[in-house]
């Protein structure tokens, strides 16, 4: 068991073996398993899978040291299609299972694949606790705002009023905003991307992989069967320009093109608003700062995203350093073992089980 010096900024993949010198470069094919992909035609999951398989070679990690753990739902079939180690577990529990794996194996890069129902409904508890603990896990939350595998019931991210098989009169549930929830749970890395934007998704995955701690990546994902077109307004080039707020560190949070640009400003009452750049007080313009330990502005940005998707921030909301749970657990164990004298020998164990109060009966 290796111990990690705490306090130093470490990469999320530090301690994971990399390819041997001179080994051939990995390609997408190296991460493609022999299993037939069985998502519906047109499912957004295909795009995410292709992006992931295309992205992983750039990490240069040994394939056998990468693990995908999933729960239940359409997206949770993901591990079967990755030629790495993988576990398709049970509904909602992937973060818990991945926590045990990550704590016990610092040499693994552990990814969790989950959906809006899996992560936010049945598995909501495990998600928030993984986030607060800051376990070195990369959690990809495929959000299609519907239950696909059970054929079309509303999910905890479905908009209020949604008519589905289980809500013929419209859903009366108020939905979760996964980014707001993650920030509220004190996550250290929170981002959002789109299934169809390969370049953006790759950049977010790259940052998530580098982050040491829990990274939550919400991926808006289209379900062509039960919620088709849910994110079309963000994918159509024209409508997207007026809606997508790209989060770039140090830059004003803005949307639109030159001439019709709009920016996010802090209003006198402290809330955020989107106004034409020409009307904005330059001092009030919000510049993004994902590394700010104070999450209030990052949270306020997450609240701009309403059911109408009028203004949707995309990118990395938060990316801060905090000691990870697994590093600290291993440090406690490692230093205790070292202090006692290294690997446990039979005599050490014998002394332990004997304890201090013993007596001897003679022959």
């Amino acid at each position: 068991m290796s111990t990690v010096e705490l306090g130093m900024p470490l990469s999320g993949v530090a301690g994971v073996p990399t390819l041997d010198a001179g080994a051939p470069r990995q390609t997408k094919k190296d991460f493609t398993s022999d299993q037939e992909v069985r998502w519906c035609p047109g499912c957004g999951d295909y795009a995410v899978l292709a992006t992931m398989q295309g992205f992983l070679p750039e990490l240069g990690l040994k394939r056998e040291n990468i693990v995908f753990v999933s729960g239940i739902g359409c997206s949770s079939r993901f591990p079967y299609y990755m030629d790495t180690y993988g576990m398709h577990s049970i509904h909602g529990r992937a973060p818990a299972i991945a926590t045990g794996l990550a704590v016990s194996r610092p040499d693994l890069s552990v990814w969790v694949v989950t959906g809006d129902g899996d992560a936010l409904s049945i598995g909501g508890n495990h998600l928030i606790h993984a986030l607060r603990r800051n376990v070195n896990l990369k959690i990809l939350l495929f959000n299609n705002r519907i239950y696909g595998l059970t054929k079309g019931q509303y999910s905890p991210t479905s908009e209020t009023g949604k008519v589905t098989k289980s809500t013929p009169a419209g859903s009366v549930d108020n939905p979760f905003n996964p980014v707001s929830l993650a920030l509220g749970a004190e996550a250290t890395f929170v981002a959002r991307s789109l299934d169809s934007d390969r370049k953006h998704l790759s950049s977010v995955l790259r940052a998530a992989a580098q982050h040491r701690g829990t990274a939550l990546v919400e991926i808006y994902q289209n379900c062509p069967i039960f919620n088709d077109g849910a994110f079309d307004v963000l994918k159509d080039r024209d409508s997207a320009q007026g809606r997508l707020l790209h989060l770039v560190d140090g830059e004003p949070v803005a949307l639109g093109v030159d001439g019709a640009r709009q920016v996010v400003v802090r209003t006198p009452d402290g809330s955020l608003a989107v106004v034409p750049e020409t009307d904005a007080d330059p001092a009030a313009v919000v510049r993004h700062d994902a590394s700010n330990p104070d999450p209030s502005q990052q949270f306020a940005l997450s609240r701009l995203d309403g059911a109408d998707m009028a203004h949707v921030p995309l990118g990395i909301f938060r990316n801060v350093e905090r000691p990870t749970y697994d590093d600290q657990v291993r440090e406690q164990v490692g230093s205790a073992v070292a202090k006692r004298g290294g690997p446990v020998q039979d005599t050490d164990l014998g002394a332990l089980i004997a304890g201090r109060d013993t007596w001897t009966v003679g022959a």
């Binding site: 693990v67 818990a96 299972i97």
Partner: protein, 660 residues
């Protein structure tokens, strides 16, 4: 310290310390037990406390007690009835009086017998004055006031001084039974190392209690119980939960894999979490998870990574973990579920014992999901049972239930400390290389290719090159592990998982029957913590000339291979259980043998005398059918544990030596 008063020799004593939940009775009992263990008596303990941390002071629900049975011969139970009751208040007296036999000794704190405290428990008049205690030897002492006056020079509040009264009581009892005091003194030194004034006060109270016995005329003489003959070796006293924790550590050590516990606090299992959390220096990782499900999830994730994943819980927690246990059955990974059973259903009796999770462990999952079950029979036996659970889990790549219970968990007994090198060698081999070739002759890895003998699949952990594979809860094709909805494959896999668990029987010893004369008609079969009371009852029946056979199950799934033949060898089989007959149901279903359950669910272990009666009833029933007049005498309700040495034939005592 030694006494100058006359010393009277006894062969056995049962003491019960009883007081308010805040009076420190469990600590007092623990310390007296340690002194007794170090002296070399054999012993057995029964802590009994309410679920509330501090029930309203002075009330019946708030009474906490600790019973200790110690003797100069081997002891099997904590004793049916106390010889000595230490009652710290009227509630403690009232709650425990019904258990006291005539002639028992009662030591009371008279300071607490005021009108208010008497009224709280419904005493109209003081039992000290109204004749209630006429048939007992009563020592009325102002325990509180004597303790406070002994501490007059200490810079402590009156309340702090009063709190030391349990140490006064311990000192007095230590004198009364000539216990060595060094252990308690050093215990106090380490417990209060950072509070010197409290330390000195506790020591002073402890010594004052001793001196009180030595100097006052209230106690004419003290007692001595000689060490019990035990097999040569090194001993310690150990509780079930600690033995279980150590057994897991030893099992993982012998298996050559790291141990990871994922757990959520629950009575009466939390002490296992506490113990293991303190063993980081031995490479043990513990996670206190957000809930029961996450606890077992983390354990299973660690197992996937090559650790011995363990979760500890009680019945309500098992209910929550069921789905993950089913996943482990499907994944065919090692996993250990320790269920310290308590009274149910639902929240039930959190601090009381029961054996009512057997069927939950056996069947409490969706689908055909067989899980091996191992049960310890005594507190110290948790150690060996835990190692056996690790052996089965790692050899067969399966979740295993370890079924302890509240009585075993908190009870303690002397334990002959084993040599680590003599523990079973259960080293496991992880998969390192492909185990098959494809059509083109290329080496491939088939994650569900089985060992022909054990039917276990390879344990191939992430980080092993060339063995990348995916597993999950969806049905898999045998061999390849690919998702398969094929009807024939599913039928095959369901039967194979069952066959794998059944195959474990080949590696477990046949059940041994204790039938000294070989002509018993009645067999008493038990499992788990009923071992002590059953053995004591069987001994008592035999001491009176009765003939009865005894056997005890460690493995509840699968059963030992000879069990059916054993059951069929007796006219009548009695199965005492702290449930409504769960083992009996399994035995009847599997062997078509008309076993008779004998059950109670009072949250306490069986008493010896009720089992003696049950055995006597069974033997007379058989005799009645045969028309003989040889029914045993009316039981005298005196179990062998309580029979003075010499009353039973000496050979009987010797042959009934029970190994722990």
């Amino acid at each position: 310290m030694t006494t100058s008063k006359q010393v009277q020799r006894l062969d056995r004593v049962v003491i019960r310390f009883a007081g308010d939940s805040g009076d420190g009775m469990q600590l007092t009992g623990d310390r007296f037990t340690s002194e007794t263990a170090v002296l070399g008596n054999d012993l057995s303990t029964l802590p009994n406390f309410p679920a509330e941390i501090r029930a309203p002071q002075g009330t019946l629900p708030g009474v906490s007690s600790f019973q200790l049975h110690f003797a100069d011969h081997d002891v099997l139970t904590p004793g049916d009835a106390p010889d000595v009751l230490v009652a710290m208040n009227p509630a403690a007296l009232k709650a425990n009086l019904p258990d006291l036999p005539r002639g028992a000794t009662v030591i009371l704190d008279t300071d607490e017998f005021n009108r208010r405290n008497l009224a709280k428990v419904g005493y109209q008049t003081s039992p000290l004055e109204d004749g209630t205690l006429d048939s007992f030897h009563v020592h009325p002492l102002g325990l509180t006031s004597i303790t406070v006056s002994a501490l007059v020079d200490f810079d402590l509040s009156r309340k702090e001084k009063e709190r030391a009264k349990n140490m006064f009581a311990l000192g007095l009892l230590s004198w009364l039974y000539n216990r060595p005091t060094g252990g308690t003194e050093s215990f106090l030194h380490s417990k209060f190392a950072k509070k010197p004034e409290i330390l000195k006060a506790n020591l002073a109270a402890f010594h004052a209690g001793w001196n009180y016995g030595e100097t006052t005329e209230d106690f004419a003489h003290s007692f001595e119980v000689s060490p019990a003959p035990m097999a040569p070796g090194k001993y310690r006293n150990i509780t079930g939960n600690v033995a279980l924790a150590y057994g897991l550590v030893a099992g993982a050590h012998r298996a050559g894999r790291p141990l990871l516990l994922g757990s959520y606090p629950i009575t009466p299992a939390s002490d296992i979490l506490h113990t293991l959390a303190g063993l980081k220096a031995y490479g043990v990782t513990t996670l206190q998870a957000e809930d029961e499900i996450a606890g077992i999830g983390a354990a299973l994730g660690a197992s996937f990574g090559g650790s011995i994943g363990v979760t500890t819980t009680s019945g309500p927690g098992v209910a929550l973990k069921s789905e993950t246990i089913g996943l482990a059955v499907s994944l065919e990974l090692p996993l250990i579920i320790c269920d310290v059973q308590r009274g149910g259903p639902s929240t039930g009796l959190p601090t009381k014992t029961e054996q009512s999770d057997l069927l939950q462990a056996m069947f409490g999952r969706n689908g055909e999901a067989p899980v091996p079950i191992v049960a310890p029979k005594s507190p110290a036996d948790n150690f060996d049972a835990a190692i056996e659970a690790v052996r089965i889990a790692t050899t067969y790549r399966t979740p295993v239930f370890l079924l302890s219970d509240g009585y075993l968990a908190n009870g303690s007994e002397p334990w002959q400390i084993p040599e680590v090198t003599n523990l079973p060698d259960i080293r496991v081999e992880l998969a390192t290389a492909p185990n098959a070739v494809d059509a083109e002759g290329t080496p491939i890895f088939r994650p569900y290719q089985r060992d022909p003998e054990t039917l276990a699949r390879p344990w191939a952990v992430p980080g092993t090159p060339g063995l990348e594979h995916r597993i999950g809860g969806i049905e898999k094709a045998d061999g390849t592990g690919d998702i398969s909805y094929d009807p024939t494959n599913h039928d095959h896999m369901v039967r194979t998982r069952q066959a794998k668990v059944d195959a474990i029987a080949a590696t477990i010893p046949p059940i041994e029957v204790d039938d000294p004369t070989g002509d018993a008609d009645v067999l008493v079969l038990g499992w788990g913590s009923t071992y002590g009371p059953i053995s004591a009852a069987v001994r008592a029946v035999r001491a009176r000339g009765g003939v009865v056979a005894q056997a005890h199950l460690r493995h509840l799934n699968p059963f030992p291979r000879n069990l059916g033949a054993v059951l069929r060898g007796y006219s009548r089989v009695i199965v005492p259980e702290m449930n409504l007959g769960q083992l009996s149901m399994l035995l009847r279903a599997k062997y078509l043998v008309d076993v008779q359950p004998f059950t109670q669910v009072r949250g306490l272990p069986f008493t010896t005398h009720e089992l003696v009666d049950a055995i006597a009833a069974a033997t007379s029933a058989i005799d009645a059918v045969r028309g003989t007049d040889e029914a045993p005498d009316e039981p005298d309700h005196r179990p062998a544990d309580e029979t003075p040495v010499g009353a039973a034939a000496p050979e009987e005592q010797a042959t009934e030596e029970v190994s722990r």
